[in-house]
């Protein structure tokens, strides 16, 4: 079989067609900056986040070094919400994310004061779009460009403190829904702008779709309508829903895959959350492309090269049959992960992830 490009490999996995190898992806997160700080001429996340060319070049350097099949652009969660006046708190470590500081919504009445943002003008969305454009020019259609964009409900928990949003779900649902409407339109417009600049898929962060955070009924009321509207309004982008909780709502994400054209998969912590990879493959593997395979909290961080290879081999055996599998850690990689472990993960995935 002729060797596929990363894009062909990734597309095949999403369509449950047989690729040459299991595609490898990861949420490099702040790890990327931590690892590369000696190679970079600028000093911190703030400078990274202010310049799209830097963002793209960092992604390229990291992909060249570690390997893998996706050019995934690190976000610092502020590029949208800064447009509403949310202030980022600059971390005191040069290689760490900025954190959310002052919020735009504190009282129920603040939700209706939010305006729909323009991705070409507001916040730092234009910077992120610049990064997409540079990566598109570099990779053309050879490597899928991935963006990570929070769902509308998750974005609300960046516009207001999470505790406030959760209390408003119970005590001020109408006010919250007014805010959600504005946020939904903004997130959709931003995703379309990313697609226009070359993004192929979104790691759509449905981080609140986990049963220890909301009930199914609550997510159906506040999350599902907005998620579905965004999927419908972003036909040019594939979506892989990422849930970082311990009980991801597979039933809802699977329904998205069945009822929309562009939701293709789920990314979750298969080694720490329910279901594990075996259960997920059996129950949801036909509807969803599964993006998982190694424990980013233990094996990848503290394991030996042998531990990593063993876990990669085990995951490939479970999830490769029938395709629909992208090998990946369950969430952001810890900055203390040894370089050798990352390289070993990609190498092992190539070794054990060969289809023919």
């Amino acid at each position: 079989m002729k060797e596929m490009t990363s894009m062909q490999r990734f597309e095949a996995a999403l369509k449950h067609e047989t690729p040459d190898y299991v595609p490898v992806s990861y949420f490099s997160g702040i790890y990327m900056l931590h690892w590369m700080k000696d190679q970079l001429t600028w000093k911190d996340t703030v400078e990274y986040g202010r310049n799209g060319i830097r963002m793209a070049n960092t992604t390229i350097k990291f992909l060249d070094d570690v390997g893998g099949d996706t050019a995934y652009i690190l976000s610092d969660v502020g590029e949208i919400v800064q447009g509403w006046g949310v202030r980022m708190k600059i971390a005191d470590e040069p290689d760490i994310h900025m954190a959310l500081g002052k919020f735009a919504v504190n009282e129920p009445g603040d939700w209706e004061k939010l305006d729909v943002l323009d991705p070409l003008i507001d916040g730092r969305m234009p910077t992120y779009l610049d990064a997409c454009e540079v990566l598109r020019d570099k990779y053309h259609d050879k490597v899928p460009i991935g963006v990570d964009v929070p769902s509308a409900l998750t974005t609300c928990t960046h516009v207001a403190p999470m505790e406030t949003v959760l209390i408003h779900m119970l005590t001020e649902p109408d006010a919250l829904k007014k805010g959600l409407k504005t946020v939904t339109k903004t997130v959709g417009d931003f995703l379309n702008a990313c697609a226009n600049e070359g993004a192929y898929y979104a790691a759509y962060l449905t981080t609140r779709a986990s049963k220890e955070i909301t009930t199914l009924e609550q997510y159906q009321e506040f999350g599902v309508p907005t998620d579905k509207e965004i999927f419908k309004n972003t036909p040019g982008l594939m979506h892989i829903c990422h849930v970082c909780g311990v009980e991801p709502m597979f039933e809802i994400i699977s329904d998205y895959a069945r009822t929309t054209k562009n939701v293709k998969g789920i990314s979750w912590w298969d080694r720490g959350a329910k279901p594990n990879l075996t259960e997920a493959k059996q129950k949801w593997g036909k509807d969803l492309c599964l993006m998982a395979g190694i424990d980013h909290t233990n094996t990848l961080t503290t394991g030996t090269i042998q531990d990593i290879e063993k876990e990669v081999e085990e995951s490939c055996k479970i999830a490769m049959p029938g395709s629909g599998f992208i090998f990946a850690p369950g969430c952001d990689i810890s900055p203390k992960t040894p370089k050798e472990n990352m390289r070993a993960m990609v190498k092992a995935a190539r070794k054990h992830g060969k289809y023919r």
Binding site: G29, I30, L100, I167, L170, T171, E212, T215, T297, K336
Partner: protein, 220 residues
């Protein structure tokens, strides 16, 4: 406390009646109800809320609202708490602003008569150690929700060693991505999977047990 007073407090927390909570606390105090009696009802109520949460009958919004009511009812009494069970310094590590779980732990420990020094969120690591020294704490509790900030927990242990606290002050950790395996790996003395287990864990550590890792059956 009579049955109707008990039921009123219990119902307020279990059903998240936020608007009534502060008033109930003030009325109970005026009626001469002791904080320990109030605390006992609140724990009963939170035990039910915690059970429902663990069984996934409810989720975080109800849990947070219950905690909100819990704090409001207790507010008139908090100033009088003697905190005689032990001294605990608690915070969310630097670069992490998630504090819902930490706040639950603080409230629960206060109700169980611990003196809690809440450092808040995004706390510089040195602050855990300096504050523990200043207040002569028995336990330092640090939490994080982010994978990216998990390594900060082992940095606190290093700082405790440098400050000569190792073996004298216990170090406990908590947060969604943590497990007993991780707690053991970094050398933490304590781990609790939720706020209710945190009280259990604190009791064991304060009594001098070397370590106590309180995992839920479904997580370890």
């Amino acid at each position: 406390m009579d049955k109707s007073q008990y039921q009123r407090i219990y119902d307020c927390v279990v059903n998240g009646k936020a608007a009534e909570a502060q008033k109930i606390g003030e009325e109970m105090k005026k009626a001469g109800i002791k904080s320990t009696e109030i605390g006992s009802v609140l724990i009963d109520a939170m035990n039910l809320v915690g059970h429902r949460y663990r069984e996934r009958e409810i989720a975080l919004p109800q849990l947070i609202l219950a905690t909100h009511c819990f704090k409001k009812i207790l507010a008139p009494y908090t100033a009088e708490s003697r905190g005689s069970e032990g001294i605990v310094v608690v915070g969310t590590v630097k670069n992490d602003i998630h504090d819902i779980g930490k706040n639950l732990v603080v409230s629960m420990l206060q109700v169980y008569n611990y003196t809690v020094h809440d450092l808040g969120k995004d706390v510089p690591l040195e602050k855990f150690v300096s504050e523990a020294k200043r207040v002569n704490a028995g336990i330092i509790g640090a939490g994080t929700l982010l994978t990216a900030t998990m390594p900060e927990l082992s940095e606190i242990i290093n700082l405790m060693k440098e400050a000569g606290m190792a073996g004298k002050v216990k170090f406990a950790v908590g947060g969604a991505p943590l497990t007993t395996t991780y707690a053991k790996h970094i050398g933490a003395d304590g781990y609790a999977a939720d706020a209710i287990l945190a009280v259990e864990m604190a009791g064991h550590l304060i009594k001098g047990e070397q370590s106590y890792l309180a995992a839920r059956q479904d997580k370890a």
